[in-house]
Symmetry: C2
Subunit: 334 residues, 2 copies
Amino acid sequence: MTLPQHEPVSASMKSPLALGIDIGGTKVAAGVVDGNGVILEELRRTTPGRDARAVEAVIVELVHELGARHTLASVGVGAAGWMDLEDSRVLFSPHLAWRDEPLRDTLEAMLGRPVLVTNDADAAAWAESRFGAGRGHDRLVMLTLGTGIGGALVIDGRVERGSFGMAGEFGHQIIMPGGHRCECGNRGCWEQYASGNALGREGRELAKKHSPMAAGFLAAVAGRPRDITGSVVTELALQGEPTAQELVAEVGDWLGLGIANLAAALDPALFVIGGGLSAAGELLLEPARRAYSRNLTGRGYRQEAVITVAELGPNAGLIGAADLSRVRTRPARA
Amino acid sequence: MTLPQHEPVSASMKSPLALGIDIGGTKVAAGVVDGNGVILEELRRTTPGRDARAVEAVIVELVHELGARHTLASVGVGAAGWMDLEDSRVLFSPHLAWRDEPLRDTLEAMLGRPVLVTNDADAAAWAESRFGAGRGHDRLVMLTLGTGIGGALVIDGRVERGSFGMAGEFGHQIIMPGGHRCECGNRGCWEQYASGNALGREGRELAKKHSPMAAGFLAAVAGRPRDITGSVVTELALQGEPTAQELVAEVGDWLGLGIANLAAALDPALFVIGGGLSAAGELLLEPARRAYSRNLTGRGYRQEAVITVAELGPNAGLIGAADLSRVRTRPARA
């Protein structure tokens, strides 16, 4: 993690601490975050399945444990899904059980502290714009490449949510009509071509077709094609395995094409790439930058955006949720 | 900047008049616009080719003629192309001869009045958001369907320009990799599928293949396939010609697909459809709405945007340029 360069220590010492909680499909992470975006203490728990009540109980337990050792002004909870514009209700969370759930009020009643509920990609973008790769930029697009593509847009120093709170779902832009089926129900969504899952699917398909190109993949997973995931291919690519590098570059091509589309629409000066797949670094970003330049409309007549890797790693969501809760929560109700 | 949506008539009576000029590939239109977006007097000239000096001379002539009869506080000039963020320079104008041209300063020196230079699609979106189909909305996407797709995005009551002034080029989002070649140099841009030009191309192709389905088209153009344009097909569709209606509906399908993509990214409550092709009305919009709903990610869990036709017609760009000049121009320099 990179520490902020500009905020004087004396000012940050005065900022109240906030707790950030990132609810993932497999883990719940909680961290005490100071005004510089630094995590002072962190805890992790296994996500208790899809049961909403059980997840809420884990959140309460984490807040109580960390709250006993730190004075926490507010709590920010980030999760994949759509939240309402009041940072209050989870409208829909694909990997969790919440459906139109007043999570903020539930948690505030259980915790007696101000709570903010936010989309995890929005939280990560906020953190990167405040403390990470986006410092000094008032306009950026962040793409978190993992299971899918988490997207968020920061304009004029705030997260752009749209009219109904669902802006930033860049991964569901259809870039290949009739293409791969997406979990959202449509076909040809960008995230079916430029995510960790897409990389894993390509690796598995290659192996299942008995292509000799997949020998290195099969060796890495004891001959079980179904164990070839995006992480496995990324790791092999980083070790120099040529086919893995080819597949990462193909995903990079799709990434760059979609980034060119976002540049046409939104024209930000900066794209920040995070998520598990960003571990591939330049193996992914170099082809992405080339595809971006090749597909950018008006090339030659415009400035080109910078495409760079995120700095805060997997903690970006947690840090951003904490920081947003400090900025946006109202006083807790009685 | 937030502007009042329901400006009282008494206040608007006091608003100074502004001149709006819309420079098209074939015509230059000028209009004196009051604070309610009403055109008090309008003049038109033929665009004198691609010669930048000749176009500037026409602008000056129009300002002098209308300025002799009205007290004009400012002049707004809209044209297809990219303008810098200072509303000052034309960076690139595809159909005109300006290349990195300090048009504002040139015109201010010639006219002795404050001038604003703006993208025509931005101007049209601004006009619709202030005085047309977008009244009361602080967030909308406008799509002007003609030669291509002019796009603009209004967020929080202002036109979103991006980091370099080139946001809103929605027509150049690639939605069909390897598809039709676009004037921008790329392949598969949305405007190659959902514009007036796309409709004309489909009509011409059908006729050139000697399809019996194109008999109605050929009858309308005295047997000359090259004369089948988007306007011809639109007109035939409105007259009830079945093949023309099919082609308009196909373009509507592509329109709806791209709108679903923009909804995923930007989530506005309103899409306003203008430009020549919007004359097709529900023949275009009904299939577009169906395709939008079918391709919208998260359908069932979200509110859907309204897709409606623009209200100000071909004068939207002129009205918007005038109004923006009133809002944004600085005092003219000596």
